[in-house]
Amino acid sequence: MMRYVLSLLLACMLWAVPVTAQDGPLRIEITEGVIEPMPFAAPDFVSDNAAGAELGRQIADVIAADLAGTGLFREIQPEAFISKITSFSSPVQFADWKAINAQALITGAVSVDDGGKVIVRFRLFDVFAGQELGDGLQLVGTQAGWRRIAHKVADQVYSRITGEAPYFDSRVVFVSETGPKDARQKRLAIMDYDGANVKYLTESSSIVLAPRFSPNGDRVLYTSYESGFPRIYLLDVGSVQRRVLESQDGTMSFAPRFGPDGQTVVYSLTRGGNTDLYRMDLTTGANTRLTSAPSIETAPSFSPDGSQIVFESDRSGVPQIYVMPAGGGEARRISFGQGRYGTPVWSPRGDLIAFTKQSKGRFHIGVMRTDGSEERLLTASFLDEGPTWAPNGRVIMFTRETQGAQGRASLYTVDITGRNPRQVPTSTGASDPAWSPLQD
């Protein structure tokens, strides 16, 4: 009996030894965190002359607005600053910035040389780590283009912290709208992504619809009723010269969009009451019919690699989203939810498709995987439609129109997570946005 008791005691001791001792460092796993805007401080960029001082303040304001507009960052107001940045090269007092919970600090300097060139330098700091994030950078531009310089600085900060591709230095072409709904005048216009620097590309003598940028942003395709019927036009952004792209008698052409090579255009053509998708080679002018169904096929959009086309069709009875090879062929339906789907647009990343959905009397902007899975509605209102992707595929811009005879169309942006819906400031009504690629 004693033997068994001793054996039991021995077993207990051998089992207990590894419990009381800890082998190596303490290990813990963190699986839950928080999602909140990161506080940052962007003091005015310092300058050694008066011309640069005003620019320094303006540039800092644009950078702060860019970052805060993403919803991923929160600006700490200058009134809360303890330290002042007086010199670009002086060491940063991290304790002062920690005290106001600034997790990122952007410092910079502006100088204007005799030739009118603007030289901007900036640094980005991780305040709590007490070190610089990436290397300092210097940008040179014109005084008229100071906003682009500011956008480029914000792009650098955004990318270094989030790891996402930038998108602030981009433009948007859209339809500017004035007048009541029953007598609305529409013009093509182009602006910075944040609503600044608006320029008009067409007159308001005829209705224009659905402009689309070329892959490098130098041309715009759009639909105009100038001839009395919808026709596709190609406009050069720099010279504002335009030409009709497709004008077969007895047909209507609309909903054009560039292919990723910039030389291919896919569009809808209505002939004899039937609407199908066609593909045009801009170099040769040759047209290829892609679909031949008795239903309406429209709103085509290329995948980023140019191998597939997503489009809208009512062949099942109600408008749904389909995907087919870029050269035509069998299409497969990818939307199966309740309601009507339309205006699908392939993300520049290639992972998602944005769309408009009408369901239960409301309109939504949503995203889904390219196989139709993981559908997620991001917005809801009386009328939301026409999504377009930011160059980095993280943000979507769309049209929102308010109800009633005095209803006004406006442009909104929303993060692909559904957070941060935000109106883009425009002086007139605005609809049909198309986001440009990032500028050079």
């Binding site: 460092p25 928080v34 917005t379």
Partner: protein
Amino acid sequence: MNTGQVISGAGHLGLIAFALFGGAFQSEPLPFEVTEVTAISAEEFAALTQGESIPEAVANVDTPEPPQEGEAPALTSEADTPPERSEPEVAETPPPDDVPEPLEPAPVPQADVSDEPPVMQPPQEDSALLVPEESPRPQLRPAPRVAPEPVAEPEPDVQVDDVERQEVTPSEEPAEVVEDESEATAPEEATTEIVTEAEENDVANAAPAQSIRPRNRPTRPEPTETAEPAAPETDNSAVNDALAEALGESGTSSNDAPQGPPLTAGEKDALRVAVQNCWNVGSLSSEALRTTVVVAVEMAENGKPVTSSIQMLSASGGSGAAAKQAFEAARRAIIRCGSGGFDLPVEKYDHWRDIEMTFNPERMRIK
């Protein structure tokens, strides 16, 4: 005989036993009356019956004589005397009641009729108490902060801070303990998941439309062949040797491993919660949100992390750039929430001097 047959046989036996002895076939007894009786002996019975004479049967019964015919009663023709009837007393006629004098009809008051429609007074607020209260479903609300625990929106005049604190204002009367003046603070409003505009106020869709298919039952591990246990040694010296060997091994490992009791699960959880409250993944790219990083940090005895010691040991699931973003977010979390010192037991410092934290954002991707 396999296990199934054994279980089936045992079950059937149990069922039969229950039927027989468990009262399954018992019926209710028929209703009957109960009368109390007393058992007595023959002597007692005889004593009881001694005083009583048994009636004898009488054979000679006197026959009544028939009545004689001459003795028939004579009938009289006198009429019966009618009973006297008393005359009812005539009641005196009561004097007639006084006729009431007719009253003059009161003049009908003239109603004040106005052409203006009456003004409807709004119901008192108390009337709302009559309305049955509805149980509102929890409504999704967007909030700028997504955290593991939801936090209600703080009062508008309350400053947002990580620590909840009551407002302290200077009082006119001097108190014995003078507290520094400070503003009231409260944690920032938070929700547990991202609420999109399409989901906001959509109460009907608050309930999940579908749930995750339950996982398959894990496969039973294959039985491994184990060596036959050795026969127990009967020699006490062998037990002593094993004991000495075990103690000897622990003695050699004590050179590297810390001594004393390790951190309890609660202490580890407190550290984990403290770090996760500062781990902000909101500004991370989609790719960085797919990257798990393991970060090593050396701690000072006051519970503060040594900033220069924080380094990434490994990363998985993303590119190098994504791992860098994920590591920087993890480093910020450790430094920010450790700036005041983590609440760790000093007596167990050896156990938490070196910490490896694995930051796995998998669950944050679906928020």
